[in-house]
Every structure is written in C-alpha cells, then in structure tokens.
C-alpha cells in the first residue's frame, strides 16, 4: 500500500511536469537576451557585432532588413536589421542530438535602432529548448556564447 501511495505521488509529480529536485533547481529561462549599444548608429553596431561574432569562433552568415524581400529594397526598414551567424561544429552537434535544434538555427541577433543607440536582441536558446532535454547542455553553452557576443558588441 505504501509502495502504491509512493507511486501515485511520483506519477502526480511527473504529470505536473516536474519533480521535487527540478522544482528546487530549475529557474525559468528568460525569452530574450538583450543589451544596448548606446550612442551608436546601425552601421557601427552591425560592424561591432560582426567582429564580435568572428572573435567568438562563429561565421557570419548574412545580414538583412526585417522586411527584406517583402518590400522593394528602397523601401526596406533601416532601423531593424537581422544578423545571422553560425558555428558549424556546434550546428552539427545540435542536429545530432535533436533535429528540432533547427528552431534556433542559424544563430540570430536582431538590431533595433532607437533615438539613443541600438538595442541588440537575441532569443535565448535555453528558452527555446525547454522541452528538448537532449539540447539542454548545449543550449546553455550557446546562451553563454550569445551573452559574450552581445557584451563585446556593445562595448
């Protein structure tokens, strides 16, 4: 009977999507990682970000306006740009672990020009992978890479 009760509690914990251990340790990941490059224009911010990406062993894939190919080039919004980048070894590793890793590939930073500077925004890979346990460790590593790149780009 005691065994049965213990099993019921264990099942309830599993059904609630948590276990006593994980409830104590798992803090929710923020959706967004962000920093600001104050007093900087878009071109300078993109250049600094590109350099930071290379410095952290990533390859620049491309940059584009948020509405690229949706409107004629001359009408593209200049104040929001997307910069895509990749580390192919990490991409290979992530796809081997769980093909749903494509939801965070290639890496991307969105730059938004404001009156006081440029905001650099990235989706936190550890937030995206919350239902992908196989990717948990790698995504923590990716998150640290993002934070380091954002920090350097904002210097």
């Amino acid at each position: 009977m005691i065994h049965c009760i213990r099993t019921v509690f264990l099942l309830l914990a599993l059904l609630a999507g948590t276990s006593p251990a994980s409830a104590q340790t798992a803090a929710p990941e923020p959706m967004i990682l962000t920093t600001t490059a104050p007093g900087r224009g878009m071109e300078a911010a993109v250049a600094a970000l590109s350099q930071a990406i290379v410095n952290h062993n990533y390859t620049l894939v491309r940059q584009q306006a948020i509405d690229s190919r949706l409107v004629p080039y001359a009408q593209e919004v200049r104040s929001v740009r997307l910069v895509y980048f990749c580390n192919f070894a990490k991409m290979d590793q992530a796809l081997r672990l769980d093909f749903r890793a494509t939801q965070m590939l290639p890496c991307r930073v969105t730059l938004v020009e404001t009156p006081t500077g440029v905001d650099l925004i990235a989706i936190n890979p550890a937030w995206v992978s919350q239902d992908m346990p196989a990717l948990s460790e790698l995504c923590q590593e990716l998150k640290q890479d993002y934070l380091a790149i954002l920090e350097e780009a904002a210097l």
Binding site: L11, A16, M31, L70, V77
Partner: protein, 151 residues
Amino acid sequence: MTGFVTLKRLVLSLALAGGFPALAEPISVSKTADMRQAMDDIALAAANHDLVLVKMQPIDTALAKRGFENPHIRILFIGSESAVRWAEEAEPRLLNLLPLRLTLIQREGRISVMSDDFDLWLKEFPDPPAHLMVEAWRAEMKATLDDFVRQ
C-alpha cells in the same frame, strides 16, 4: 491488486481530464517528395496564403562541404509585410519570430516539414494583441502546410 486498479483509474481519469502535461509540438506534416520538389511546393503553398519565400538556408550542403555529416535538413524562412508591420505596431518583441521558419527534413523518400513551436510563444504572450497575433500566424502556417501536402 486493488491498489493497482485504483492507480490505473487515477491515471486514466487524469488523462481524460487533460491532466497529462501537453508536450509542446511544432506543426508538422510530411509527404513523398524530394527536397527540390518540396521547396517548390512550399513556395507555391506560401504564395497561396500571401506569404513570400524570404530565404532558403541549405544547412545540408553547408555542413557537408565542411566535412560534417549531411543532415538532409534545410531551413526556409517565409513572411509577409503585414506580419512585420503588425508586430512593429503591437509587440516589437514578436519581430524575433519573423520571418517564420520552416524546417525541411528528408528521410527515405519523404519530406517532413516542421514549423517553430508557436506554443512557447503563446505561453510567453498570454494576452492580446500579441497572443492573437501568434495564433493568427500559427493558423496561417497550418493552412500553408496543409496546402503543401495537397500540392
């Protein structure tokens, strides 16, 4: 034995009551096609829903030419100007979800196409207008992928 039956009943009633944690799943479809045909069909399906193919990311060839195993996966980005303007106005954080992403996976003569996980975003934005916006994009994506299967 009685305990086991009770346990079974409890689990069954929790399941019937929707007590199992819903695993967030992206929208996904599959059909028999090769990669090239699938990309053409998606472009057509997207156009039928006023979406534009913005960019194709050939991560299969990108990895293979660098000596990694070919994962037979490509990523497509599709979007619409109205979605961008809508997000700019209502909730700029949603710009991070645009353009919308599709993953194409080639396995044994079939192509599976998977969207990003909209449920994550819906949970993060529980209130209108952002919630409604993500719901609308999810519905648009679902309709596009259904159309892709019919091509």
